[in-house]
Symmetry: C2
Subunit: 215 residues, 2 copies
C-alpha cells in the first residue's frame, strides 16, 4: 500500500506538471494573439482553456479518490492538499490567459494595444513565461532556491505593471480611454498570472519547509 | 468517532460562516470608504484583511488536522475538500475588498470615483452584499434553490459591470484616463468578488447534488 500511495503521488505530480505546461503554453499563445492580432491563436487559447479546466478537475478528482482510498497522513496528506491548491492556481492562470486572448479577439483585426506598448507587454509576457517555466521545474522537483526566485521574478512583473500604469497616465497618452482601460486590465491579467505562479510555488515550498503561506 | 467527526464538520462549517460574515462586512466597509472617501473605513478594511487571511488559514489547518485524525470518506471527505475551496474563495473575496479600500485610500481625500458613477458602484456593491449574505445562508444550511439564486445575482452584477465599462467609454467621459482606469479596475474587483461568491456557493451545491463545478 505504501508503494501504491507513492505511485499515486507521482501520478498526481505528473498531472500537475502537464497542466502547468498547458498553462505556460496558453499565456505564450495568448501573447502572440495580443501582439500580432492573431485570431487563430486567440481562438485556440479560448478553446484550450476547456481542456485546462478538465485537467484541473481530474487532478482534484484523483486527489479525492486517493485520499479516500489510501487515507494518507502527515506529509503525504499535506501533498494532497497542496496539489489541490496548485490545481486551483493553474486553473486561474489558464483563465487569465483566456482573458488576454479574449481581449485580443474583441479588438481584432485591430491590435488590442498600441504599438508603442507592445515592448512592455512583451516584457511582462516574458516574465510570466519564465515564472511558468520555473513553476514547472519546481513541481517536477521541489527546490526551495528556485521557488524563491519566483518571488523575485514576480517583483519584476509588478514593476513592469506599475510602469505600464504610469505610461497610461502620461499627459501625452493619445489613444483614448478604451485603449487605456484595455491596457490596464491586460496588465492586471499578466500580473495576476504571475501572482498565481508565486502562490503555487509557495505551496510546494511549504511542503519542503513547513512555513505558512496564506498572503 | 462518528460523533466526533460530525462535531468537527460542524465546527468547520461555523468557521466558514464566520469568515464569510467578515468578508461580507469587508466589502461593505470598503464601499463606504470608496463612496464617502472615508480614510478610517479604508484603513480598517486593509487591517482587517490580515484577520480574514488568518481565519482562512485556520480553516485549512483544521481541515487538514481533521482529515489526518479521522480519515473521513465519501461525503464527509468531499465536505472537507469543499471547505478548502470555499476558504480559498473567501480569502480572495477579502483581498478584493482590500483592493477597493486601497484604491479609495490612494485617492483620499478626493473620491476615487466621480460622483456621477457613485450610484452605479452603489448598485454593484449592493449586489455583492446580497450575494455574500446568500452565501452565508447557504453555508449555514445548504439550499440548492438559494445557491442557484447566486448565479442570477451574479448576472445582475455582470450587467452592471458592463454598464460601467460602457459609461467609461462614452464620448462625453470627461474625467481623464486615470479615473477611467480606476473605475474599470474597481468594477472588476466587485465583479470578481461576486464570481467568488458564486464559486463558493457552487461548491456547496456540489455537495448536495454531485454535479461538476470547474468553470
Amino acid at each position: 500500500m505504501r508503494i501504491e500511495l507513492q505511485e499515486e503521488l507521482d501520478l498526481i505530480r505528473e498531472m500537475l506538471v502537464s497542466t502547468a505546461e498547458a498553462v505556460r503554453s496558453a499565456i505564450g499563445v495568448a501573447t502572440t494573439a495580443l501582439l500580432s492580432a492573431d485570431r487563430t491563436a486567440a481562438e485556440s487559447v479560448i478553446t484550450g482553456d476547456v481542456q485546462i479546466n478538465d485537467l484541473c478537475w481530474r487532478i482534484e478528482d484523483r486527489v479525492q479518490a486517493t485520499t479516500a482510498r489510501q487515507a494518507p497522513v502527515a506529509t503525504d496528506l499535506r501533498v494532497m492538499f497542496a496539489a489541490l491548491h496548485v490545481a486551483a492556481d493553474l486553473e486561474r492562470m489558464g483563465d487569465l490567459a483566456k482573458h488576454v486572448a479574449r481581449t485580443a479577439l474583441r479588438a481584432h483585426p485591430e491590435p488590442a494595444v498600441p504599438a508603442e506598448l507592445a515592448p512592455l507587454f512583451g516584457q511582462m509576457a516574458g516574465g510570466a513565461d519564465r515564472m511558468a517555466a520555473k513553476l514547472i521545474r519546481v513541481l517536477s522537483e521541489p527546490d526551495l532556491a528556485r521557488a524563491a526566485e519566483l518571488d523575485r521574478d514576480d517583483n519584476v512583473v509588478d514593476r513592469l505593471h506599475r510602469d505600464l500604469l504610469a505610461r497610461l497616465l502620461e499627459p501625452g497618452w493619445r489613444y483614448g480611454a478604451e485603449a487605456a482601460i484595455d491596457a490596464a486590465l491586460l496588465g492586471r491579467f499578466y500580473e495576476r498570472y504571475a501572482d498565481h505562479a508565486v502562490n503555487a510555488g509557495r505551496r510546494v515550498t511549504f511542503l519542503v519547509s513547513g512555513a505558512a503561506v496564506v498572503g
